[in-house]
């Protein structure tokens, strides 16, 4: 095949130009295909398993295909890969020494994927940060906090820190601290609290609500009111219980005490 490329051939050989055009045509087809395959794989695996595995499968497929595309492109361009790979080996060692943190994050990422302490969509708490996991990437996990801030947590930190997964299990317990005055009838208070739990549709009948005696406080008798609910209702139930306790205590004349001190003068 011969092509009339005019003045270009003064600087670039026609054979190279031909290879370049073929290579560019290959990229034009291959790159959208890679993104299409990645998207399809993600959808299929997400549907069959979970979003976590969908994202993981998509990343693996993406990187493998991209390496294949680059290798084919370079080969088509007539570049030998052997010196490149040799240089990459030397460069890799240098980069490895220079970027220990990044390597640690990558390895930590593998542990996170294998151990699976949380998945995409879970609500986790790391230190003072609580949010929904958006993605678990090569170097870090991304969270969206409930006030809509973006938080990036390096994988190494996640491996080293205590991570609380708030949505791993389907039901959660809501703990409400209740203090009543020393003059209150504790049995009546207990019955009142159990009625409040029974009348709230978000509170689960089983595991049954519990009222625990905590301590004789400085100004109050301290109780703990434990009610179970589905994990998505925790905050709503906590609010409703506290509001209802205040309302019912006021109606029943049960005093919620404040700190006070009795001073005797002689």
């Amino acid at each position: 095949m011969t092509m009339d490329l005019g003045p270009l051939t003064d600087h670039i050989s026609p054979a190279f130009l031909e290879r370049l055009l073929i290579g560019l045509a290959f990229l034009t087809i291959a790159l959208p295909l890679v993104y299409l395959i990645r998207s399809r794989i993600r959808n299929i695996v997400t549907k069959k398993h979970s979003e976590h595995y969908g994202m993981l499968a998509a990343k693996v497929v993406h990187y493998v295909l991209m390496v294949m595309v680059i290798v084919i492109f370079l080969t088509e361009m007539g570049l030998s890969l052997t010196p490149l790979l040799g240089a990459a080996g030397v460069l890799g060692v240098a980069i490895g020494f220079a970027s220990q943190t990044s390597v640690s994050n990558i390895i930590s990422g593998f542990f996170l994927i294998a151990e699976r302490p949380f998945s995409v969509g879970d609500v986790i708490q790391v230190g003072n940060t609580t949010g929904v996991v958006l993605s678990i990437d090569t170097l870090s996990a991304k969270l969206r906090t409930f006030d809509n801030r973006f938080v990036r947590i390096p994988n190494e930190v996640l491996i080293k820190s205590e991570v609380i997964n708030n949505t791993r299990f389907p039901i959660r317990r809501v703990d409400v601290a209740v203090s009543v005055s020393y003059g209150a009838d504790l049995k009546a208070v207990r019955d009142l609290l159990m009625t409040i739990a029974e009348s709230n549709p978000l509170a689960l009948q089983e595991p049954a609500p519990v009222v625990n005696f905590q301590q004789f406080g400085a100004s109050s008798v301290d109780l703990q009111f434990l009610v179970w609910t589905n994990r998505e209702h925790v905050i709503r139930l906590r609010n409703e219980l506290n509001e209802e306790i205040k309302r019912r205590f006021d109606a029943a004349g049960v005093e919620i005490p404040f700190p006070q001190m009795v001073v005797h003068s002689s």
Binding site: P170, P201, L202, L204, E206, P207
Partner: protein, 251 residues
């Protein structure tokens, strides 16, 4: 299909700008047709006037009437007898439980379209299973009667029958049973609703509980008319949890 006359389950017309009310036990339903929309209000306080809060659906051209359809709840119901029942080995007990139904609202024109489903009575939620694995069900206290006189059955209740058989070598204490209502059909006789039998056989291990439903009217109302198919397909000899003994170690 259903043929009992003057039933609340018969379709009724929905004229333009006319308030239509229906009561299903404690559930009050009000309908209005305005400007091509169906307005629906729901109350459970027994009032004879509709509440202020309405939900609106845009109707198709030609939609002219509404039909109420009884349904069993959309989740399993954990039935808790007032007093524990103990079954000696190789014994059998047949109990009757009244489960509050749901009502489906369908608009009818050239074809029928479901607008929504509404429970006649709001049941509490409960958990059936362990702390890490289980399912949310509705909780229902019952006297677990050994017979069901017709005058005790209210329009918003369906009678569910459980045959519990203890084929194990030990006594079986029944303090709660998970009734898989989503696999039960509904039948009607003399305005009363009945579900098909649930046969629960306990073999001694939680995992080997066998649950059977047959899709036929119970023998007490053998000639009842089938009103509604189960929400989920029936499976013969389904091995599923019917009993679970949850211990709360967090107290």
């Amino acid at each position: 299909m259903f043929s009992e006359r003057n039933s609340i389950w018969e379709p009724f017309p929905l004229p333009e700008n006319t308030l239509v009310g229906r009561m299903v036990g404690p559930l009050g339903l009000w309908f209005q047709r305005k400007d091509g929309e169906c307005w629906v209000a729901v109350s459970r306080d027994g009032a004879d006037t509709p509440p202020d809060e309405w939900t609106r659906w845009a109707l198709r051209r030609g939609d002219h009437s509404v039909r109420l359809t009884p349904l069993l709840p959309d989740r399993s119901v954990v039935v808790k007898p007032e007093y524990d029942i103990r079954l000696l080995k190789n014994t059998h007990v047949r109990t009757y439980t009244r489960v509050p139904i749901w009502v489906a609202l369908d608009v009818i024109g050239e074809s029928s379209v479901r607008l929504t489903e509404i429970p006649t009575q709001i049941l509490s939620n409960t958990w059936f299973g362990g702390f890490t694995d289980g399912e949310t069900c509705y909780g229902l206290a019952t006297t677990a009667r050994r017979e069901m006189p017709a005058d005790l059955i209210e329009p918003h209740q369906a009678v569910c029958i459980m045959d519990i058989r203890n084929h194990s070598e030990t006594d079986l204490k029944v303090d709660r049973v998970c009734l898989r209502v989503e696999r039960l059909s509904l039948f009607s006789k003399d305005g009363h609703l009945w579900a098909d039998d649930t046969d629960i056989t306990f073999e001694g291990e939680e995992a080997s509980v066998q649950i059977r439903t047959d899709g036929r009217a119970p023998v007490e109302v053998a000639d009842a008319v089938k009103l509604v198919e189960p929400r989920q397909p029936q499976k013969r000899g389904l091995a599923e949890r019917a009993f679970f003994f949850l211990r709360n170690e967090t107290e």
